[in-house]
């Protein structure tokens, strides 16, 4: 749509407006991994890791384009856009390293929402997500969740607004019998773990709420002080899906979250992508 044109009404498509929603790319008859992310490096894709921070310069992570810290004091939300504290736990560095291992040339931004204790952590998570969506990242990795019911509605609104603004939220699912968010929302990609070693092996789940299973067992990840750990958890399956999503967007930047999910589905190991 050109800047001069009026936006289409939300409820209808007038006959003369059909050519205004013409899609820029012709899709092949069969969507393959080669078409989806063949030769892609993640270049041009902006990925945000909402976590405990990222240790910049770690051999498995490389350069971190921006480090941001979110804090709440009383009623005031502070966004430190030049945070230098790095990673307070190691977990965010691990997630950043997994993403870079798949999409080495993606742009990486760290938004620290964890590490300052338990109290207020739900509100900080919410504000961090709000900030990240406003920045228009292509992919946001969330290897965390909240169980607080009072945040569910707001998180749902944020997840939907991300979806409509072409920001793909990729969130860790839970393996315990509790309700937590935002992974349960259909506007995000929710991720559980499988036991295979191939970082590109991922499975579509026809029985949601978990939509995809990615590599999450015995993953060698980056940790604090230049260290490495072998870790297991959906926390590490999630950045695998985020990294693959970044690769697809690197080849096809025009894709909406709906289209991106469709491509990921068609290329899943159990759908046709394994061939």
């Amino acid at each position: 749509m050109s800047a001069q044109e009026e936006p289409l009404p939300a409820w209808s498509l007038p006959a003369e407006a059909v050519d205004r929603i013409e899609l820029p790319e012709v899709w092949p008859g069969e969507i393959t991994r080669e078409w989806a992310w063949g030769a892609a490096t993640g270049a041009g894709v902006r990925v945000c890791v909402l976590d405990s921070g990222i240790e910049a310069g770690h051999a498995l992570v490389g350069e971190v384009q921006q480090s941001v810290a979110i804090a709440i004091e009383g009623e005031n939300v502070t966004v430190d856009e030049q945070d230098t504290a790095g990673d307070l736990c190691g977990h965010g560095t691990a997630c950043g390293g997994v993403i870079r291992s798949l999409a080495p040339e993606c742009e990486l931004t760290s938004v620290r929402v964890l590490g300052a204790g338990y109290t207020g952590s739900g509100a900080v998570l919410l504000e961090g997500l709000r900030w990240a969506i406003e920045q228009g990242f292509d992919v946001i990795n969330m290897s965390l969740s909240t169980t607080k019911q009072k945040f569910a509605g707001l998180l749902h609104e944020l997840a939907d607004s991300a979806y409509f603004r072409r920001t793909m939220l990729v969130a860790s699912a839970h393996n315990m019998p509790v309700e937590s968010y935002p992974w349960r929302f259909s506007s995000v990609i929710s991720v559980g773990s499988h036991e295979q070693k191939d970082p590109f092996a991922y499975f579509y789940n026809p029985n949601p709420p978990v939509e995809f299973f990615a590599r999450g067992v015995d993953v060698e990840v980056a940790w604090l002080g230049g260290g490495r750990l072998v870790c297991t958890g959906n926390s590490f399956a999630t950045p695998h899906m985020a990294g693959i999503a970044a690769l697809v967007l690197s080849n096809h930047p025009e894709l909406t979250p709906f289209q991106l999910k469709s491509v990921l589905y068609l290329c899943a190991t159990n759908v046709g992508g394994g061939a």
Partner: protein, 212 residues
Amino acid sequence: MTSDLHAAVAAGVLGTEESHRALLQSIVSVARAIFKAKASSILLLDEETDELVFEAAADEASESLIGRRFPSSAGIAGFVLVSRQPLVIEDVLTDPRFSRETAESTGFVPRGLMAVPLLHEERALGVLEVLDRPQDSRFTLAEMELLGLFANQAAIALDLLLRARRAESSLAGQGDLAVVARVAAKLEQRREEEELSPDIALRLLTELEKLL
């Protein structure tokens, strides 16, 4: 007032803190045995101080650990709590900074650990940790499932402990309710000893009516 009375009766009947602690202790002992681990512990979140407190531990130094506190932002346990995500680490020695201070203060530095948040309804109550599984056994998702089941049980036990503590503290300084609690506790004790016949209960009620 009704809820206070309920709390008083509950405090009398639900049992002591020791019995709930014994339940937690049993859970960590079984978790340690099932996973063939060197140690296992349950940490409770103290929301007032934003600290994690050792409530139960199964290992050589377990006694000295109970009651030890550290900030809820420290180490893997703190992260697991705030992120609500379970985490399994195979070899923490390769991490130069990871919660080493916390681990050393407990007198035990693990090589590997499994940590899972204890979630009850929408609250995160604490963390269950299982330390140093056998090194030759690879971690599988079936074990993660098992860990989740233990966590669920531990969360229920922690919730009971917290309820009992709340009930007890709600009685502090309230003489009449404390009496109700003691009466409830006595009746429960007699019932358990099978010495509470309908006859005794009726006589007690008659005397109470006379007094009140």
